[in-house]
Amino acid sequence: MGDSLDQFLADNERQAFRMAQLAIGHRDDALDIVQNAMIKLVQKYANRDADQWGPLFHRIVQRQITDWYRRKKVKQQIFGIFQNNDEQAGSYFEEYEDPVERVPDKLLQSEQAISVLEKALQELPMRQRQAFLLRCWQGMSTKQTAQAMGCSDGSVKTHYHRALSSLRTVLGEAWP
C-alpha cells in the first residue's frame, strides 16, 4: 500500500505542482499546496482503491487552490488590493527558473512557449483556467472535471468553452 501510494504520488506530483503553479502563479505556495494535498490524500485515503487516488488527489488540489484564492481575497481586503496586485505580479515572473543554464535552443523555445501560455492562462478567470487545465491537460471527462471542481457538468462545459475561445484569441498570433 505504502509503496504503491508512494509511486502514485511520484507519478503525479510534478503535474500537480505545475497545475497549482499555473493556477496561482507562485512557486512556493504551489509547493505548499501539493504537499498539503499529498498529506491529506495519505492521511485520509491511503486505504482506498488505487484507482480512486487520481480523482481524489485532483479534487484535493483544486480545493486547496480555491482556498488559496479565498485567503488571498481576504488579505487583499485587509491590506489593500493595489499593493498586493503589484507584489503578486512581480513575484509571478520572478519565479521562473532561468532556462539559459540548462538548455539549448529547443528547450529554450519550449520555455518561451510555456511562458506565453502561462501569461495567457493567468488572464483567465480562475474557474476557466481550472476547467481548461483539467480537461485539456489532464484529459479528464466533463463529469470528472465537474467532480474535481465541485460544480455541474454544464458549468464545466461553459468554463471550458470560454477558456478555449479566449486562449485561441489571445494566442492566435503568438502560438508556435
Binding site: L9, E13, L31, E97, R168
Partner: protein, 112 residues
Amino acid sequence: MNSKHVDFENNAKQVLDDSVTSMSAATQSKLNQARHVALSHGKKSYVSYLPWFSGLVAASAVALLLIVVMPSAPSLSPPSFNMNQLEQLVMVEDLDLYSDLEFYQWLDDDNG
C-alpha cells in the same frame, strides 16, 4: 468540436507536458521531499482522528442537550426537538472539518 480546437488542445497539452519534463532539479527535489513528508504523516497518524472527534462532538451534543432539556422536563412526554439548537450545539470552529464533510458528501454522491 472543430479540428482547429483539437489542434490547439494538442498543442497546449504538448507545451504543458514539456514544462513538466523540463522542470528544474531543485523543484523536483522539493517535490520529492514534500512526498516523503506526506508519507511520514501517514505513518504517524494513519488512525484517523475523525471518528474520535465525531464521537466527542456527538457525546458533547447529547450531554448539552440533556442539560438544556432536563430542568424543563418533569413530564414524561418527549421534549420538543429543535434542529437549530442541535446544530448550534455541534457547531465547531474548525472550517477544515466542514470542508472535509462537504468533501465526504461529494464522495458519497458520486462514488458511493
